[in-house]
């Protein structure tokens, strides 16, 4: 107690809560998710009181010792404790007469990592509606409270709580288990898991929530989960590597995207020396590993586009020809209006503003998209058509919700040369 209090790593509780819930759920079964959450809550409340004068030397190990004891206490109370264990996990245990001896030889480090992965697969079970999957992952794996999830997803606490409750009821009543599926079903489930991680990242990267810290946390969690998926034999498909690469490339620009007032700086105007080179290197590492097999996923193409931006010293020298062709391929896989819009924008930078305007005007149903209107305005401005540019910017101004975005458009309007 002679030492002044040791500072804890940021988000230690949140991160470890997610790991411990996954770990306990793997042992007790997914249907016991609420019990697992209660045990973890008690463990953290314990730490809160015991660490007041300073954290122990190895806080993570302390938490695991306590949570493991809680688990054993719970099992000890049951005469036939084996019946309380998830069937999938039971096979791994040396079924002696006491719970203690059965758990003695377990490699906990390995189990924790493995259990987070299984939890991800379970949360994306097709029986759980898609919008509830993301909430469930945020709650169980990322340790976010209902209030924090509501803030991150711009939803109400009641709505989040209701969805969580329904999802958990489903898990309990339909006896969903943490066992990942096999065969072609595994590949489908992996698709769902990757999509949720992709959405999680996008929520953080593009979300309209004003809580900057929370948004950064969501991106970090998505990076962490994608790295976990990329490194695990169950999920390390080439498209998983591509997703991890994409997230690394995008995250590398996190600090360069906002100015001191929190206003958005568009790719064009970003100070590229602020891009995180470590993340870019990591991105290339995953990207190389994604180049195997014969499937080109949307993640491959998006990662490839991001890699061209990462490699370019400034906006003007971007290889727009390559970026345009990649968007063309992306439109073939995934013919969404947003992909088509990006293809048109890339064409404008590749062939000139007039070509960009023409391509954008050929698109339908995008008039109410502010990015579309801003891009149109930019090309008109470049093409020395300030009146048309102003009209497009004025429409965009009415479509955005965030003050930062409105200021950005305001700057563009001021910059127009009549």
């Amino acid at each position: 107690m002679e030492h002044p209090a040791q500072q804890l790593v940021d988000h230690l509780f949140r991160r470890e809560a997610g790991k411990m819930v996954s770990f306990l759920s793997k042992i007790l079964g997914f249907s016991q998710l609420s019990l697992a959450e209660d045990m973890v809550q008690e463990t953290l409340a314990h730490a809160l009181v015991h660490w007041r004068a300073g954290a122990p030397d190895n806080p993570e190990a302390w938490l695991y010792r306590v949570v493991k004891n809680k688990l054993l206490d719970h099992l000890r109370r049951e005469k036939n404790w084996q019946e309380r264990i998830a069937p999938g996990f039971l096979q791994q245990l040396n079924l002696d007469n006491s719970a203690e001896t059965a758990f003695e030889h377990l490699n906990f480090e390995h189990e924790i990592e493995d259990s987070q992965l299984r939890m991800m697969f379970a949360c994306c079970h097709p029986a759980i509606p898609e919008e509830a999957q993301l909430i469930l992952i945020l709650k169980t794996l990322c340790g976010l409270s209902v209030r924090e999830i509501a803030a991150a997803l711009l939803s109400s606490e009641e709505a989040v709580a209701k969805r969580l409750f329904r999802a958990k009821e489903k898990i309990r009543t339909e006896h969903l288990e943490l066992e990942p599926p096999v065969g072609p079903e595994l590949s489908q489930r992996l698709e769902a898991v990757l999509k949720v991680v992709y959405l999680l990242f996008n929520e953080g990267y593009y979300s309209v929530s004003d809580d900057a810290m929370l948004r950064l946390d969501l991106c970090r969690e998505a990076l962490r989960l994608s790295a976990l998926l990329a490194g695990h034999p169950l999920s390390n498909a080439p498209k998983t590597q591509a997703l991890a690469a994409l997230l690394c490339f995008q995250a590398s620009r996190f600090d360069a995207r906002l100015d001191a007032q929190g206003d958005i700086i568009v790719l064009q105007d970003q100070n590229r020396s602020l891009w995180d080179q470590d993340l870019i290197r990591q991105g290339y590492w995953y990207f190389q590993r994604s180049a195997s097999g014969n499937e080109v996923s949307a993640y491959h193409l998006e990662a490839a586009i991001a890699s061209y931006h990462a490699a370019s010293p400034d906006f003007a020298s971007t290889n727009w020809q390559a970026v345009f062709h990649l968007y063309e391929l992306l439109c073939q896989i995934n013919a969404s209006p947003v992909a088509a819009m990006n293809r048109a924008i890339a064409l404008g930078y590749f062939r000139g503003a007039a070509a960009g305007i023409e391509a954008l005007l050929n698109l339908e149903n995008l008039g109410k998209n502010h990015i579309y209107q801003v891009a149109l305005g930019d090309f008109y401005a470049q093409n020395e058509q300030p009146k048309q540019a102003e009209a497009a910017y004025r429409i965009a101004e009415k479509l955005v919700n965030r003050a930062a975005e409105r200021r950005l458009i305001g700057k563009k309007l001021e910059g127009l040369v009549p």
């Binding site: 209090a5 008690e42 009181v49 007041r52 004068a53 300073g54 976010l144």
Partner: protein, 117 residues
Amino acid sequence: MDKFMLVFHNTPIAEDVYAQMSPEAMQAELQKWNVWIGGIAAQGKLIGSDALYPTGKQVKGASHIITDGPFTEGKEIVSGYLLMTASSLDEAVEHAKGCPVLEFDGIVEVRPIQHFG
């Protein structure tokens, strides 16, 4: 320098609040305690501090009647203590004002330790 004992009395409501906190909020709460106790330690005035379980046993009278206690239905629970040195009772009270238990309407009792002989 005299010795003082700071006794923390928690309301059961505060204990409930802890149980409802998100992991992030719990860590923030812990950080407050770390800062407060760390500040006393940094001045070389901390002797020791511990938290108590909310319940235990009570031994009463010459006949050693043992009951469960204290009774948590009561208004407050002694949840921990901190032993420190300070130049005066006033100084110890000043330190006590920083205790995070006060944010949940708890009480910090500041008691000088008696010297014999």
